[in-house]
Symmetry: C2
Subunit: 185 residues, 2 copies
Amino acid sequence: MTRPGGRSARVRDAVHDAVVDLLVIGEINAAIPKIAEKAGVNPTSVYRRWGSREQLLLDAAVTRLRATSPIPDTGSLREDLLGWAEGVERSMCDPRGQILLRALVATLGPEKEPLEHLRARGEDLQAALDRATARGEPAPSVEDVLDFVLAPLYLRVLFRRPVEPGTGALLVDRLLSSLPAGRGG
Amino acid sequence: MTRPGGRSARVRDAVHDAVVDLLVIGEINAAIPKIAEKAGVNPTSVYRRWGSREQLLLDAAVTRLRATSPIPDTGSLREDLLGWAEGVERSMCDPRGQILLRALVATLGPEKEPLEHLRARGEDLQAALDRATARGEPAPSVEDVLDFVLAPLYLRVLFRRPVEPGTGALLVDRLLSSLPAGRGG
DNA sequence: CGGCAAAAGCAAGCGGGTTTGCTTTAGGAT
DNA sequence: ATCCTAAAGCAAACCCGCTTGCTTTTGCCG
C-alpha cells in the first residue's frame, strides 16, 4: 500500500465493513453502487480500486478472515491445537465468520492456486507441528489436521448444519488419538 | 412436472447443459441471456421458469449432483462405504462435479434448511448404516461419516487442493478403524 | 382428429450497473 | 509551509440485463 494510514485505508475499511454488513443481513446480491452507498463512498472509487464485485468480496473475505483464530504457542501440541480449533469454532459460530467463509468459497474460480488464505494457515500449522516434533511429541501431518479438524467444521458451516459447542475440541481429540494406533490404511 | 417428456424437458436439459458448460470453461459470471443463447433458447423462457440466475444455478447443481455416487447395497458396510466413497471421489475429480459442488455452495444463502441435496444423501447413508446394524456389524453415525469421509473430500475440492487417487478408501478406513469394536490398527 | 392449456418465442421499453474523462481532495515528500 | 501525485469524487453517457404484454408453438387428452 502506498498510503497505509490515510484516506485509502479509511475507504478500504469502510467498504469492507459495508460488504460484511450487507452479507450478514442477507443482501447477498448487493451490487457495487449499493455497497458504496452504505460505505459512504463514491461507486467510482470502488470500481477503480477493485474492478468487480467478485474481487471486492474475495479481498474482504481474505482480509477479514486473516485476523481470526491464530495458532497459540503453549508448549504443548494438544493445547496449541485446542486453542486454534476453539478459535475456528468460535469464528464459525459467528454470522460474520460464516458469511465470509461462504463468500470466500463462492468467489473462488477454477484457478489452480490453493488460495493464499489456506496456504498461510497451512504454514502456521506446519510451524506448530514442527515445534511439537522438536519437543519429541508425536505429531500428525498438516493434511491430517485439515482432514480431521478444519474440514468437518467448515463443512458444517457451508452446508448449514449446526456447530455444537465443543466440536473443535472433539475433533482435535479424534486427531490426536488416531496417532499412536497409526494413521492411514 | 406437467409435461415430463416433451419440450419442457428438452429446454430444461439444454439450459442445464449450457450452465454446466459455461461454468466449466470459466464463465462463472455468465448472465441469463448468455446461458440462453448457448442453450439455443429464448432468454424469456429462462426468466419465466427459473426467475433468477441464482435459482437456475441451484437447480442445475442439485439436479446434476443427484445422479452421482449412489450408495450400493453389498451386504457389507465396508464395501457399501468404499463403493460410495469411490463414487464421490471420482465425481470430485471431474471438473463438472467440482464446479457443480462449488456452485451449490455458492448459491446457498443464509437460509436455515440443511439443503435438500445433503438431506437426501444423509437419508441414504442412514439406510446403509441401519442395514449394517441389523446385520450386527458395528456402525458409525451419519455425522461421523460426513466428518471422516465427505468433509475432507469436499474441502479439497472447494479449496482447490488435489484429490489423490485412493483418498476415499483411505478416509473410509480411518472411519471404520475409529469404531469402538473395530480394529485399532 | 381437433381443441385446450401450458410453455416457449418475440419485441419493445425500462432501469440500473458500469465505464470514462475530468476535477477535487488529501497525504507524503522536499 | 509548499508542491506533487495518488486516490476519491462527480456527472454523463453507454451498455445490457431484466421485465412485460402479446403471439405462436407444442404436446397431452377427449
